[in-house]
């Protein structure tokens, strides 16, 4: 049985009252396996940060449940147990308004059992973090690096990174991704990171969750997702109009374009059996999958509205 670092069931978070009520998270069910590098993808205002805030005990769910290592992060003393096991980089990277050295020293004293000075030094060196620059003079990228160094050197069981690449230059970004893979996934540790920068996530994540408008559109191992999503361009007389495997079908004058989300080989076999001609068949990149899922969800919502 898979153990989950983070698990949510029908999680709902609303803000405001009456007509002004906004659903930031709307019935979210998420499963982050322990030991995975899980990328939570979504557009702006998809509900990623709100979900992370609930996992960190910074926001309370309106309904539904969220567990971190089987513990409820919204209720003390379980919340304290959760926070002992979690390193966190917030979306705005504003942590304690201290110089990087002071932030690291302070954070080190909060986690004496797990903190690694060697790892801290490694992150500082690899990310070229200026240790003694006052907080007010730090660039956004340096604030990001500072928050990342503090969280990574904690060596926590779970590392939660909310948009961890904000402000990083390509070299620092590359170093960060390598650091995460090389040093943060040892001993079954879990990384949960949110982003809308798909290319970066695709490089390191082994599990993906795609969120839109507070709901999860797709979740699973990245390899499975890549293997399942396929684009077919087809001509023929009796083509299927819909089905469980078909995410979308677009007809134009010459051909029909299918986006398949499950078992592309069976679908291709079925097409051939029905006398169709497959003009083109391609696997899809994560970016294409993401765009297609978001567009389909949007058009379905418009139709239902």
């Amino acid at each position: 049985m898979t153990a989950f670092a983070i698990q949510t069931h029908s999680l709902v978070k609303t803000f405001g009252l009456g007509r002004k009520q906004i659903s930031a998270v709307d019935g979210l069910s998420l499963h982050v396996p322990e030991g995975s590098v899980y990328g939570l993808l979504g557009r702006n205002s998809a509900g990623k940060t709100t979900t992370i805030r609930m996992a960190m005990g910074l926001a309370r769910p309106t309904s539904g449940t969220i567990d971190v290592f089987g513990l409820n992060p919204t209720r003390d003393p379980e919340r304290v147990s959760v926070l002992r096991q979690v390193g966190y980089v917030p979306e705005d990277k504003m942590l304690a308004s201290l110089s990087p050295r002071k932030l690291l020293e302070l954070n080190r004293s909060f986690y004496p059992g797990t903190w690694s000075d060697d790892l801290a030094r490694k992150v500082i060196k690899r990310l070229e973090l200026p240790l003694d620059t006052p907080y007010m003079k730090l660039s956004l990228g340096d604030k990001t690096k500072s928050a990342l160094a503090a969280a990574i050197a904690q060596c926590s069981r779970l590392l939660i990174l909310d948009e961890p690449t904000t402000g990083l230059d390509p070299i620092a970004l590359d170093e960060l991704l390598r650091l995460l893979v090389e040093d943060c996934t040892a001993e079954g540790r879990t990384i949960f990171l949110s982003s809308h920068q798909l290319a970066e996530i695709e490089q390191i994540a082994d599990h993906i969750g795609i969120m839109d408008r507070g709901k999860i559109l797709l979740e699973g191992p990245l390899d499975d997702i890549r293997a399942n999503f396929h684009r077919f361009t087809v001509t023929g007389a009796s083509l299927p109009a819909g089905g469980a495997a078909i995410l979308s079908a677009t007809r134009d004058a010459h051909a029909t374009r299918y986006i398949i989300q499950r078992d592309p080989e069976s679908f291709s076999h079925e097409l051939i059996c029905n006398g169709a001609t497959i003009l083109d068949s391609n696997p899809m990149s994560l970016n294409e999958i993401f765009l297609e899922l978001c567009r389909t969800a949007e058009s379905r919502e418009e139709v239902s509205a």
Partner: protein
């Protein structure tokens, strides 16, 4: 009062008022220079000297810290910053409490009365009359404490995502700032009292010197047409009222009233800051407007209302001018009120994560 004593009083009070901030400024400059020099000399790498677990040096420290885990100790140690604010408040309150000892204020009251009475009355009047001013500092201290409580600020979010329970964060933060406020009031009161002794000696022991001229004034009023006894007591020129009020005033209750009132103000702001109403700028505006309205009502009450309804002022243990003190038992009213407000604030703070 002879000119030399007057000059001494002016010099000492002025020196005590001006010197601390100058010395503090010099200390800050030296500290910053040392820091800059240390940074230049330091290796650019991360090599912290202190052990990761906060060490406890003294026996009393060990006794105090033994029931706390490492993150809690770190948070407790971070409260040392509150000490600096406490020292600043002590100095401000001390300046305020001692202002009545300045010779120009002492001379302003009842020239017919002896020096001891004038000094004592001036001292009491300036302490009691500063209730509104003290309130501003209580509000400031509360803002300092409340700023770190919620997850809205960077510091607050950092604390809230470390392994510390919400109630621990609330009570340690509130406890340390409120203690600093109370201790600064007590220290300032003690220091101003010592200054009074240094400058004028135990003046309260010589108040009977004022009995004779006051008795003569009252007897005169009774025997001759003209101003009544009440007129004489109310007249600041005669000093008869000052004499009576100075004799009736209880200095422990005067200071206790300041402490209980300021603690109530402090807890009120904490409650407002933790109420689950809005967030960000909206919340700050709500708290600021509420505090402003409350403060204006309070000032109106102490200026007008306490004269109109002295019984209400007594029940609330508001002692805002020299005269008969409220009974000690009424001190429980603001104390219980503060405790209730803190209890509510703690409840809201524990649930106030958005």
């Amino acid at each position: 009062m002879n000119r030399t004593a007057s000059l001494h009083a002016i010099l000492i009070v002025s020196a005590l008022t001006i010197l601390p901030p100058i010395l503090f400024g010099i200390w800050i400059v030296i500290r910053e220079k040392r820091k800059a020099a240390a940074l230049e000399a330091a290796a650019p790498s991360f090599s912290p000297q202190a052990p990761a677990t906060p060490s406890v040096r003294s026996k009393s420290g060990a006794f105090f810290f033994r029931s706390f885990d490492a993150p809690q100790r770190v948070y407790l140690r971070r409260q040392r910053l509150v000490l600096a604010c406490g020292l600043l408040l002590t100095w401000i309150f001390f300046v305020y409490f001692s202002s009545g000892l300045m010779s120009q204020y002492v001379s302003a009251y009842a020239g017919q009365q002896p020096l001891a009475l004038r000094v004592w009355y001036s001292y009491l009047f300036h302490i009691s009359n500063g209730a509104a001013t003290h309130g501003i500092f209580a509000f400031g201290a509360a803002a300092l404490a409340a700023g770190e409580l919620g997850p809205a600020s960077a510091v607050g979010r950092f604390r809230r995502t470390r392994p510390l329970s919400r109630s621990f964060l609330f009570w340690i933060r509130i406890g340390s700032v409120l203690s600093a406020l109370i201790f600064s009031l007590v220290l300032a009161a003690g220091a101003s009292f010592i200054l009074l002794l240094m400058l004028y000696g135990p003046v309260w022991k010589h108040l009977d010197h004022g009995a004779q001229p006051t008795a003569a004034l009252i007897a005169n009023a009774r025997s001759q047409p003209g101003p009544t006894v009440d007129d004489i007591l109310e007249s600041s020129r005669s000093g008869a009222g000052h004499f009576t009020w100075a004799l009736q005033t209880s200095i422990p209750r005067l200071f206790l009233s300041i402490i209980t009132t300021q603690s109530f103000f402090f807890t009120l702001v904490i409650l407002l800051a933790t109420l689950p109403i809005g967030s960000g700028r909206k919340k700050i505006t709500f708290v600021a407007v509420s505090v402003y309205v409350f403060f204006m009502l309070y000032i109106i009450f102490i200026v007008v209302g306490s004269g109109v309804s002295p019984e209400l002022a007594r029940i609330c243990f508001l002692y805002v001018r020299p005269g008969p003190p409220p009974p000690y038992i009424f001190a429980l009213v603001p104390v219980m009120g503060s405790a209730a407000l803190l209890g509510l604030a703690s409840n809201f703070s524990n649930r106030n994560d958005g």
